[in-house]
Symmetry: D2
Subunit: 303 residues, 4 copies
Amino acid sequence: MNYQKILQEVYLEAKSLPQIGNVAQTIPQLSKVNPDKFGIHLTTIKGQDFGIGDSNEKFSIQSVSKALTVALAFSFMGEEIWKRVGVEPSGTAFNSLVQLEFEKGIPRNPFINAGALVIADMLVSHLKHPKEDFLAFIRTISGTQEIDFNLKVAQSEKETGYRNAALANFLKSFGNIENDVETVLDFYFHQCSIEMTCKELAHSFYFFANEGKTMDGKQILSKSNVKRLNALMQTCGFYDESGEFTYKVGLPGKSGIGGGIAALFPKHFTIVTWSPRLNEKGNSELGMNALELFTTKTGMSVF
Amino acid sequence: MNYQKILQEVYLEAKSLPQIGNVAQTIPQLSKVNPDKFGIHLTTIKGQDFGIGDSNEKFSIQSVSKALTVALAFSFMGEEIWKRVGVEPSGTAFNSLVQLEFEKGIPRNPFINAGALVIADMLVSHLKHPKEDFLAFIRTISGTQEIDFNLKVAQSEKETGYRNAALANFLKSFGNIENDVETVLDFYFHQCSIEMTCKELAHSFYFFANEGKTMDGKQILSKSNVKRLNALMQTCGFYDESGEFTYKVGLPGKSGIGGGIAALFPKHFTIVTWSPRLNEKGNSELGMNALELFTTKTGMSVF
Amino acid sequence: MNYQKILQEVYLEAKSLPQIGNVAQTIPQLSKVNPDKFGIHLTTIKGQDFGIGDSNEKFSIQSVSKALTVALAFSFMGEEIWKRVGVEPSGTAFNSLVQLEFEKGIPRNPFINAGALVIADMLVSHLKHPKEDFLAFIRTISGTQEIDFNLKVAQSEKETGYRNAALANFLKSFGNIENDVETVLDFYFHQCSIEMTCKELAHSFYFFANEGKTMDGKQILSKSNVKRLNALMQTCGFYDESGEFTYKVGLPGKSGIGGGIAALFPKHFTIVTWSPRLNEKGNSELGMNALELFTTKTGMSVF
Amino acid sequence: MNYQKILQEVYLEAKSLPQIGNVAQTIPQLSKVNPDKFGIHLTTIKGQDFGIGDSNEKFSIQSVSKALTVALAFSFMGEEIWKRVGVEPSGTAFNSLVQLEFEKGIPRNPFINAGALVIADMLVSHLKHPKEDFLAFIRTISGTQEIDFNLKVAQSEKETGYRNAALANFLKSFGNIENDVETVLDFYFHQCSIEMTCKELAHSFYFFANEGKTMDGKQILSKSNVKRLNALMQTCGFYDESGEFTYKVGLPGKSGIGGGIAALFPKHFTIVTWSPRLNEKGNSELGMNALELFTTKTGMSVF
């Protein structure tokens, strides 16, 4: 398949659609991003790279990081992880407290904010130097040292992240946060502030498509456990639009309010899009359209 | 792959697990079923059949029928269908009215009861002889005339189906039911009362795995639209346990409170299990276990 | 106190306020009422009558009837009544199904529709000729035979009352309706269709203000039980605006979507207003304003 | 009326009922209180005092303080206060976040924790030395200098008050807290830690019964505004048991998890009970029983 040609077509067709939505306004530092940025990168299972547009520009991965923190936590805790967080779609917004109250402090899945905070708490408990060790993990799976936190973004989220502080305190009130609320939030805001290019992110997600092995052959998770996380991304990766994404695109993936989407076709490829304009559910409108065009043109989806 | 041998292993291992759960109690006629029935049937894309246990015994397909009604409605209405019902997992029980109130009469998806009632209403509006025509459709896709409603079961559901009557009236109050409430409920109770064997059901689901074509070559839905319904089954097919089923089994499928589960691996096979004991979410406990064993042993799942 | 003069002032001041809101649209027959009708009637504990405006014109009492059905049910069942319906404000709209699902079929109070349907079911079970006997009760407490159902309104509600049918079926599914859903709804739609003038309604509510005794001395409820029902009207009589009404007016009362409000000051008077324009919570805007003016001017409220 | 004799009867009868419920466990410092403490104090509108049992022992007033903070805020803000907090019963538990999410950060009333935090924020904004000035206000209305914060209790609440921290952050995320979350919580925990005897509390509530004037004649609120706050206590003073309390007791009042209840009959008396055992709704079981006995025996209730 001529991926470069297909990406080009997808890129042009997607750009010709009406550009709707706005850059995330909730985090001051992020709201300054140029809304018209747009890049796509595809990495095949054989390691070939295909990029187009702004695919080599860094952006804030935000909630895409949740797929990586849960992979790391799963790698050392295994099924124990599901005692403190579920695997069901939430049926509500990413930052809802309602469901958490009804289910007594057990978040529905690790991709809504409440679940990601519980995962962050696990990492804080388990890692010796949580922030540094997590960054090292990201550098390992991406195969590059050129990845870092954006401290201004982390600070910006800290200063305005009252909803996340509410969630963390609420979880703590149910006993589902072990560490200090402050420490967990600090880790979480750092994890979200990581910046990558589409290409770096596609490389980082490679092990999800490759039965648990990174591009340079490190086994991060077992084949079976990677399937399970892919399944989880399929049902829960796009908040309250997970059904829509699955319906239209048919690939497991994870979005972030920085405008990034990382998706993958097991045994075939990973694909990452970046466009900062978000729809009302908080997902990248252009990215979703591009991925729908891509799977429609290629017929390559898990279904 | 030696499917007969694998089915045998799965059958024995699953039976050796603790048999928990009870036969559905909500429908008097169904509560009389022998709880220890257990059958599995697999049909490959090439048309080979493999069965074990009670796989040739008829059972009430109940909500498994929802995958078939939505396929029929989708075949003549196309994307119009989604104006009256969504594609998102519900995050609540199969018969909840809560979500419906918050979302002003638009059910989250066609597999919860509210959504299935809206689909039933579409069929009643569109088909000349709704019950007869739907039965004819089932006979066509299954390739056998030996399929019928169980009128006692339909009657039994009618007499005790107050929750469904509540849902239908509620939908009508939002203007999302066009026909008489009575007529729609009558159709719905008939559709659920259809009886099939595991084998017949596996044949009926064959077109989902075969890009829209039945075993004898009839194109029911386009390749692209079949992918979309498979995606929908993946995220919503098991009520509030859809994430769990996806996580454990990794195949699109649909369950019913008669104890049946129909699942499929696109381009490879359909597989149907039947065991009437239900877990607390209303899904067949033994069936889910058997399917998890099957995909673990074969490595055959979409992720 | 010169009640006639005060009523006159209240009437003029209230009429000079902006007339907002619309006549109830949900029941076709009611939507034809002249929106500018406005009447007030006050009956003192000594039996003196003071009226102004359209206070001698019949209107549909609708949910005001709920205070009268609960009084009748309470008179023969006593505290048993509270096993099937609560005494707490609902915090939701008058016809919400959400709360009912969370609380497993026990309505929060007898003044939301779900609760009133349970009370209707009690009356259907207990009365020999439910509709006739209830009408006789109303004629007794009002002291006049000139009161009847409006059969066109009852029929109109029946044909469009899908939300109430949903509630009744939902209650039945929880086992909290004993009789046929149809029979209970028929009784309920009749009870709501009763027509009275402000004066007749003020006389009917007299026993609430007079320690349980009607104007001609019949003891309907004990002194203690009447206090309890007054308390219930205070906290729950205006749906999700009960707090607002209590805050502004400070009297127990009950509203209906026909635009009527009956209120009372124990040991002092009953007062009834009628104006068909409803605010967004379903209560008579002008009626509430008039009652607020009345208690402000006279200083006569329970607090 | 011989109040001393009636209090004695009530005291003995209430004590002879089964003593159910436990001391509040959520605040470590409070959990140490002797569960069998029981006192009642009544102050008539003429200033006469009647006490029995442990009525002169200090206890933690906790949420009873919410009636006093709202009175103070109302005295300088007037109706402006209701732009940021409602006057409707909540229909949910005192510390629920659900309602707050649905209503976008506007608490239903000032007596649930979320509403009290908004009131605390108003006081922090308005008072020069918030804690000192509020304490001075309490000393003024109670007529004694012998009232203080319990710093150990305040500290204990601070260290374990994750649910309140969640609420405050959640409110802040909606823009309904002006000051630092920390500062508002610190004020709130101090306000709740105030200790009084039944007698001191009965004196503090005197102005609610006396048309806004304290025992030594200071006008705290206008006659009309005091009526409004009494109305608010009637519908919302006992969390999700406000309807029950109104039904049984028929007086406006406010409870706290320290086991105190302050209630009043306008123009007649204030009455305070203290018994630390709480029912499952968080209200003093024995206190509610005593007040029900009291109003039943005397017939003195607002209805």
